[in-house]
């Protein structure tokens, strides 16, 4: 499994992000510098067919949305 590593800045902190693919799905795993547990996020489809960022497992939806936007910005910046 190939893993891509990069960093994003969230609330003045630099966070490590790992990108990996399993079962045809791309995941991003974000590590935090303090005792916050790592977060895994991915893109999913809502009922109307629109994509949204979600945490996996469930429960950290808000953070997934915030971090997901930063991941998108990172990819736009390297194009």
């Amino acid at each position: 499994m190939e893993i891509e590593l990069f960093q994003i800045t969230y609330k003045d902190a630099s966070l490590d992000v790992e990108r990996f693919d399993i079962s045809g799905q791309t995941f991003f795993r974000i590590s935090f510098p303090d005792k916050v547990p790592p977060l895994t996020i991915l893109r999913a489809l809502n009922f109307e067919g629109a994509k949204f960022w979600t945490s996996m497992p469930e429960g950290r939806y808000q953070l997934a949305e915030e971090i997901g936007i930063l991941v998108e910005q990172y990819y736009r910046s390297i194009k």
């Binding site: 399993i22 079962s23 799905q25 995941f27 895994t40 991915l42 999913a44 489809l45 809502n46 009922f47 949204f52 979600t54 945490s55 996996m56 497992p57 469930e58 429960g59 950290r60 939806y61 997934a64």
Partner: protein
């Protein structure tokens, strides 16, 4: 309708996400191509979370163990048979499959589970043997001994699908070991499976997405349980191919393998 992390999602997206949760948590556990019932190994099973319209994916032991089996030694005898004190051989009791037509009959060991503990068994495909009786060159009649050809059977355009199952909690009273065991519900073979599993003409109860949902979460009476359990998945939505006879030990058990002497299946 379902919600995942507060977002309204379709049932199929919900199932996909829940499945991915498990893949992430235990990637190696779902990354198995081949499950052989007689190994009594662990399989991925969707189990309802009580009081919620939600499920968890857990590992269960394939081979239903009723509560009166008190320890692993008895379980071994139950599943494999044993020589009784009088020297007679006690035949094994096979509980890998539960017949949909009989499981709710009074005093059946599966009855309580069928009423109260239904589950879905995740499958990426299953294996079955087709029996072919070669024609004798001497008299032109079929030989008495069949040649057996293995098939891998799946659902077209689906990476995985659901089989109706029932489960039973089981505890070894001596060691305290706790496991959940299950049996796959079977129904009469459809037109495809009649040709492949031609010795018994049975097949697992493959459920559509809606039936799977109902099986897991529905408040069902006995008639409806039997109706769903007896559902015959449409043959035209299934696919089957022959595989190598040593598929059990193959790196890729589901890899197609052609047999020149094997008559083709009739199209369904």
């Amino acid at each position: 309708m379902c919600y995942y992390n507060g977002q309204k999602v379709t049932r199929s997206e919900f199932i996909r996400l829940k499945n991915l949760e498990k893949v992430i948590a235990k990637y190696s556990f779902l990354n198995k191509d081949l499950l052989i019932g007689f190994d009594y190994g662990k399989s991925a099973v969707l189990k309802k979370i009580e009081g919620q319209e939600d499920f968890e994916i857990v590992e269960m032991e394939w081979g239903f163990l009723p509560g009166y089996i008190r320890n692993r030694e008895q379980a071994e005898k139950f599943r494999n048979g044993y020589k009784k004190a009088d020297g007679q051989w006690q035949q094994p009791i096979l509980t890998l499959n539960a017949m949909s037509e009989e499981m709710l009959l009074p005093k059946k060991m599966y009855r309580d589970a069928a009423l109260n503990r239904r589950c879905l068994v995740l499958s990426t495909g299953f294996y079955e043997w087709r029996h072919v009786f070669p024609i004798s060159k001497k008299n032109g009649k079929p030989l008495k001994t069949a040649v057996k050809y293995p098939y891998h059977i799946g659902v077209k355009d689906r990476e995985y699908f659901f089989l109706a199952g029932i489960w039973q909690p089981w505890k070894d009273v001596e060691t305290g070991e706790y496991v959940e065991t299950f049996s796959i519900v079977t129904t009469a073979a459809n037109k495809l499976m009649e040709q492949i599993h031609n010795s018994k003409k049975r097949m697992p109860a493959i459920l559509t997405e809606d039936l799977a949902w109902e099986w897991l979460f529905g408040n069902l009476d006995e008639n409806r349980i039997t109706e769903i359990a007896r559902y015959q998945f449409p043959a035209e939505q299934m696919e089957a191919c022959t595989i190598s006879k040593d598929f059990r030990s193959a790196l890729e058990p589901a890899a197609p393998y052609a047999y020149e002497d094997l008559p083709a299946l009739e199209l369904v």
